[in-house]
């Protein structure tokens, strides 16, 4: 039986035992507020980074015109004949990153396909954690490895290769990045629904055909996101290039030459004691700002691509 209540029922008084417990309520709010402050610490960190980079760069750009900064082909801010062109540092950064990616993208992708489509459950369980260990090795160790092991090895192949060059550290950085790319790309591939694979196998396709023609295209945006985040890592990597690529700003894209990256410049300068407020001190913040902008761009593109991919499945 449905009773027909046409009017809104009148408000009722609240009995004491069911009334809101104010003390508990306030306590809960306080806790929530404290937790929120903690979450805001992440925002505060970002803001501090941005403010400090912008602030110091701002004074830097009072001395140096933005035009010179972006177009001059020499970077010698600490010397008599000072030039403030960021291009040589950018070229070094891009070249080492490009080498790293030339190593990491093919190997990482192949590895990801292997792990996702070919490896048995057992193999995957063993190989993946070991690959993750590679991510844990301190980069300073990789730096010496590039300088004292890989470069001499490369010099056996290219005798005219100088001791500091972009090739060796680029390759080492690439190997460092393989696990990032392979594990993220593998996640993307495993997110491809099994029905897609079954559809392909049911047509008489082999594993390889299924992997290349169906799974990879289906996971492509996730794989690209993995690449982009890999680029961001390569661009921001410091110790490997600072130790092994040489520290001379050099506008070149030739991997056989030595060059300084943005990160290497910052470390190199920071090893001395720069007076707070000098142009040299500000220059590392200006360089840092460029670095931050580059990685931020890649990170954002990467996250957008990944998010888009997640939405598909």
């Amino acid at each position: 039986m449905v009773s027909q209540v046409l009017e809104k029922p009148a408000e009722l008084p609240i009995s004491a035992r069911l009334a809101k417990n104010v003390r508990r309520h306030i306590l809960e709010r306080v806790i929530e507020f404290i937790l929120m402050l903690a979450a805001l610490s992440a925002v505060a960190t970002t803001i501090s980074i941005v403010v400090i980079l912008l602030y110091e760069s701002f004074t830097f750009f009072e001395h140096v015109s933005l035009w010179d900064f972006l177009t001059d082909t020499e970077w010698t801010p600490l010397f008599e004949n000072a030039h403030y062109g960021i291009l040589p540092l950018v070229s070094g950064t891009l070249t080492t990153s490009a080498i790293a990616l030339a190593v990491a993208i093919p190997l990482g992708t192949i590895g990801a396909i292997y792990l996702s489509e070919f490896a048995s459950h057992r193999t995957r369980e063993i190989v993946k954690p070991i690959l993750e260990l590679l991510v844990g090795v301190p980069t300073v160790v990789f730096g010496y490895f590039a300088l004292l092991f890989v470069t001499p090895l490369l010099q056996k192949i290219f005798p005219e290769l100088p001791g500091f060059n972009m090739l060796g550290p680029g390759i080492v950085m690439g190997i460092m990045i393989i696990p990032y790319i392979s594990s993220m790309a593998e996640d993307a591939m495993r997110a491809v629904p099994m029905s897609m694979r079954e559809g392909s196998y049911a047509m008489g396709a082999t594993r390889f055909q299924t992997a290349i023609r169906v799974v990879t295209p289906a996971a492509i945006s996730g794989i690209i996101a993995a690449y982009i985040l890999g680029i961001s890592r390569a661009v921001g990597e410091t110790m490997v290039v600072a130790l092994a690529a040489g520290q001379q700003p050099n506008l070149t894209f030739n991997p056989m030459e030595s060059a300084a990256t943005i990160t290497a410049y910052i470390v190199q300068v920071a090893m001395g004691d720069l007076p707070h407020g000098s142009i040299g001190y500000q220059s590392i913040f200006a360089a840092g700002l460029v670095l931050m902008l580059m990685t931020l761009t890649f990170n954002i593109i990467g996250h957008i691509t990944r998010k888009r991919f997640r939405e598909v499945y």
Binding site: A42, V137, V140, V141, I266, G288
Partner: protein, 312 residues
Amino acid sequence: MTTQASVLENLAEVRAMIRRHKRNDFLFSIVGLLALMIGLLTLLTLFVDLVADGYPRFNLDFLTNYPSRRAASAGLLSAWVGSLLVMLVTFFSAVPMGVAAGVYLEEYAPKNWFSDLIEINVTNLAGVPSIVYGLLALGLFVYGLGFGESILTAGLTLGLLILPIVIVTTRESIRGIPVSIREAAYAVGATKWQVVFHHVLHYSSGGILTGIIIGMARALGETAPIITIGALTFIAFLPPSPVTEAAPFINFDWLQSGFTVLPIQMFNWLSRPDHAFHINAAATGALIIVVTLLMNGTAIWLRYRIRKNIKW
């Protein structure tokens, strides 16, 4: 209908084709395994290389001696103690903050632009190069707040550096707890905080722990931000002890102390003219690798166990 026999008609041809295609499968399995092996072989080579160079220093003296001008008697005492103290600060700055932030984002944050903002922030922070944290430390802690080149500065810097790692793993492990458990707790009258504290944090503690260990391992190996802060190179004594014999038993002077850490000591030894120091550097490198691999290995093992034991 002729088509129906299309496979049977030229069965030999079809079989040859299948065999050809299957060869690709086989070749790719090998190529794929090799691609993965390259990473592992690198790790192995690197480690063997360091051990081969550094083995003469593998003894207890190496850990109990201070640095010295004589390579053979130089040791890591001040470096590993420095690393330990820096990590202590890192732990206490990053862990409570990161876990609390993760809990807030997962359990409390309303779904609006504000939490989106924090969310985007955290993901981006995770991708900020470590050297930029060094710049932050230089501008904020060293000069802005006047902490100088101290253990406190280094610890806080690395704390900020691993904060996103802690936040992200906290969120991931919290997300693994089913709604039904939360609802069960609410249904008997638990408050939000009780649900979080008695259940959410409790059941995700293993996962959070793996994140903390991975973060701390990362902090241990970080070099670039410490260089920008400016760690000391020769320090042949230990910072004031955090625990004292007399009341109040705790002492915070060590926070302001100068310091050196393992990667910096390695860095310093490698820049010596005398090759004997390079042996020390290799031994230090091997030590750092062993410790970080142990930490990461523990974390991976822990995560594996948690995944295996999950019942819901």
